[in-house]
């Protein structure tokens, strides 16, 4: 949404500089690309970070469960002896 509002407002900003049509279009394209790339990068880092944290916690929990199961199995083995 931020990107859309920025792109809509961008045209009036460009017009205030009284550029030629070609200049204006080039600036519009480049500024839109820069805005798009920044938003995608920020969102990617944010969701990537959150996903990475969840993945790490899941992996640690899995390892912990496996360790507990192994210890439990070992004790059972000792009792049987």
């Amino acid at each position: 949404m931020t990107l859309c509002i920025f792109i809509i407002g961008l045209w009036s900003l460009i017009q205030s500089y009284q550029p030629t049509l070609l200049e204006g279009l080039a600036f519009f394209l480049l500024a839109s690309a820069a805005g798009f790339a920044t938003v995608v990068t920020v969102l990617g880092l944010m969701f990537g970070g959150a996903g990475g944290a969840v993945f790490t916690v899941a992996k640690v929990a899995e390892a912990q469960i496996r360790l507990q199961q192994e210890q439990g199995g070992g004790r059972r083995h000792l009792h049987q002896q």
């Binding site: 920025f6 460009i14 500089y17 200049e23 805005g35």
Partner: protein, 185 residues
């Protein structure tokens, strides 16, 4: 990797944008451009614009206080015509100021450091506004998720007591933990 193969235009657009965002800072103004830009900008009378805005707001307040809910008598009509005249003056002053600023910007050019800087500032302003909006929405969402946990046959009073009880329970647990800790140390 597959996304890049299937959407080459989007990926190229992204990398072009990333390059522009990281490296572009605009062309520097020459000394002639700089002096021309500054002289036009200094000719913009901000005091006049401020005065016109203040007079318009005053006239608007006077008109607002004299009008009824759905009616406007002769006294109110007189105030309204005064307000309209002030608004016309204010719009004209503002348009004059904007035209001068636009002339100064035309001297600098859209690809200059002034143009690129303004576009960048505009982007970050919208971005920060969006981030604040998202934060506020998350807060409301958290609040209403709490409300939704209210039972079907539960009144507001009961729900408030339950929430209070939960908080009280937390306090009790904290006290208990503190006592246990004290006993052990």
């Amino acid at each position: 990797m597959n996304f890049g193969k299937h959407h080459p235009k989007t990926v190229s657009f992204y990398f072009l944008g990333l390059l522009v965002a990281l490296l572009a800072s605009g062309t520097a103004l020459s000394s002639g451009q700089k002096s021309q830009y500054n002289s036009i900008m200094s000719s913009v009378d901000t005091t006049l614009e401020y005065e016109a805005a203040r007079e318009y707001k005053e006239a608007q307040a006077i008109w607002y206080n004299s009008k009824g809910w759905f009616s406007c008598d002769s006294f109110c009509q007189r105030n309204k015509s005064r307000m309209d005249a002030k608004k016309t003056t204010y719009d004209a002053v503002r348009a004059e100021g904007n035209a001068r600023v636009s002339d100064a910007k035309a001297v600098a050019g859209v690809f200059s450091e002034v143009g690129v800087g303004e576009a960048r500032d505009s982007f970050w302003e919208y971005f920060n506004r969006g981030a604040k909006f998202a934060k506020r929405q998350s807060m409301w969402d958290a609040l209403f998720t709490g409300f939704r946990s209210m039972g079907r046959d539960e009144s507001w009073g009961e729900y408030a007591l339950k929430v209070r009880g939960r908080e009280g329970g937390r306090e009790e647990t904290a006290k208990h933990t503190k006592n246990v800790y004290r006993r052990h140390t």
